[in-house]
Symmetry: C2
Subunit: 349 residues, 2 copies
DNA sequence: CTCGCATCTGACAACGTTGTCCAGGCTCTA
DNA sequence: TAGAGCCTGGACAACGTTGTCAGATGCGAG
């Protein structure tokens, strides 16, 4: 093949691979540009005959409207962003899906990304979404300073936080009753005769972790139990550290007889540790885990409803987008104690 | 306030909530439009002093580049789309996350959506993504006819299918060795003395389900076992039907002594059924499930690596986007048999 | 002091679409 | 048959950005 042709080929593939535009369709159908636009958007004022001609040209050329250009012109992208921690975490799947369904019901597309629990990445991602001019933003915060979003919010990006409140700005937030849930879960253990109860949770700089710890302390105080330092492990994130923490508080003469775990990842690891133990130790975990009912014993948990969390946040977002003025609000959803056996074990000593 | 002002206010809030543009920044900094563009994009040829002035104006106005307009001009959106079945399914979380990581490494954003296993919704979603001019598309097919994507692919949208092959078009596909995996899993049961082995799987119109069924049949034939109709249940999708199917093949004088389950959802339900049974029944499942090792007995599975599936597909996509010409290819990833106890139970009779 | 060159800056068109507005042709009525 | 009014279609500007290109400025050398 001659050089020129090969070059032309490559150039043709340069942009959107040489996609036809409305202009091309118009030329082929022998009509004006705007008429094509009218047909594509189902606007009135086109005779059936013209419409048919245009439609034929569209099909023949494989035309598809360029929404980027449309967005530029219209000012609304019909898309919302979701910044979450990690899509691979089973807790966020249903949440994301719930947000997606609400978005879909409003004719919007959902763009989501993972922050990997890194504040910097959260910011980078949220701002990238803003640069794409998403109409709104649902954020599960990784960081604790969201002032970087102030210009965006002022510029009209509807923003709702989920699972944890925003840091240093005033914004909507939808969260579970972490404090009450944890308090209830620990009270459940106390009601079954436990007094030496361990707590293993995330770093208290994470809001949910702090709240759950507060619930633990409150329940203990309610029962007049003085919490010992060695019963608590904060900031155990990876399985090895959780394991070590659990083994530690389970050893010695005044070992704990029950453990309250601060999130699903911790719960899973502790279940493993307890399975290797000869004596029964009670366990209540925050967050439900799959197959919890099939374990021996079944794992009692304080469950939060990820899907409802997501749905509530998304619905609030779209209410804002519909133009309703709303003052920033804090919406708290109840948790549910699901008893399956592990939390009803009595202390052995 | 005079009428005009109120009207102006409303109009100002009309579009992106009155966002400043490069023009505004330029005016404030007292420089030309293009100079702002240069600063924003880190292009050379701007004196430090000018740059500082522009930067100040940017900060003061809270300017953020409008990527929609940029896309229109540049022709690349630096985003790819992922169409999957259901984000809430634990199998797709890691897959999506893996695709996201690859995209991120290439400076691209991932837009994903769920088809809910509905072919029509898959098409709607894929085409919506194309209208947004994603550079590429990763699709986990729900339908079996993807000719609707032909114009898009021709127009330059790089497309890779995952988990199941495309229907009626020639395109890249990355999948697990469903046939080999199932065959190996069933052979494992046969090696432990089973001959009456049940199969519970999805509708054979789903490619993966058909392949796994084929693997089951092959393993049985290898062992010279004639499969009886009542040992097989195809198309059991909801838990109730799976339960009924399992109970049925587990009853009667020639009940099956082992079951091979075709996907994670089926496996979970069957584990529940077997837990209620007094006699031990062997089980091997396709797809790994969380906590499978903690059950009594642990669940032996044929595991596929969702993350690798996603990563492989995404990497192939970006190789295409980098301009390499590649003929459509079928990439098959191996599965791994993980023995945990349930698959090593011997038949009781 | 002037020329040449390098460096910095800005005017302008273009990307593909939609909103505005006007022209031309038609129908209907007087 | 003329005029009013409606219907259809198209020309044009605008959305906010970037690529092109040419003009302005400053500096050093001759």
């Amino acid at each position: 093949m001659p050089e020129t042709t090969r070059r032309a080929d490559r150039l043709a593939g340069n942009r959107y691979g040489n996609r036809p535009t409305m202009k091309d369709v118009a030329a082929r159908a022998g009509v004006g540009l705007k008429t094509v636009s009218r047909v594509v958007n189902g606007e009135p004022g086109v005779t059936p005959d013209t419409e048919r001609r245009v439609q034929e040209a569209i099909d023949a050329l494989g035309f598809r409207r360029n929404d980027s250009a449309r967005v530029l012109r219209k000012g609304r992208t019909a898309s919302i962003g979701l910044v979450l921690e990690d899509l691979a975490d089973p807790f966020y799947g249903p949440l994301s899906r719930a947000v997606e369904e609400v978005a879909r019901a409003h004719g919007a597309l959902l763009i989501n990304g993972s922050s990997a629990e890194d504040p910097e990445r959260e910011q980078e991602l949220a701002l990238a979404l803003c640069a794409r001019r998403v109409d709104g933003l649902v954020v599960i915060p990784a960081g604790d300073d969201h002032r970087y979003l102030e210009p965006e919010i002022r510029a009209g990006v509807a923003t709702v936080f989920v699972d944890r409140p925003a840091g240093r700005i005033d914004a909507d937030v939808v969260l579970s009753d972490n404090y009450g849930g944890a308090r209830g879960g620990v009270a459940h253990l106390i009601a079954h005769g436990h007094r030496r109860i361990g707590f293993i949770g995330d770093m208290p700089r994470i809001h949910t972790a702090a709240e759950r710890l507060r619930g633990y302390r409150a329940a203990m105080e309610d029962a007049g139990i003085t919490v010992e330092e060695r019963w608590m492990s904060l900031g155990a994130t990876n399985p090895e550290r959780v394991r070590r923490a659990a083994e530690e508080m389970l050893s010695g003469p005044d070992a704990v007889t029950a453990i309250f775990t601060g999130n699903n990842r911790v719960t899973v690891t502790v279940v493993r540790v307890l399975a290797e133990l000869s004596r029964p130790v009670a366990l209540v975990g925050f967050d439900d885990i799959e197959l919890a009912d099939l374990l021996q014993p079944g794992v009692t948990v304080v469950a939060q409803d990820a899907a409802t969390l997501g749905r509530t946040a998304a619905e609030r977002l779209f209410r804002r987008l519909d133009g309703t003025f709303l003052a920033p609000e804090r919406i708290e959803l109840p948790t549910r104690l699901i008893t399956r056996g592990s939390g009803e074990l009595r202390p052995t000593d």
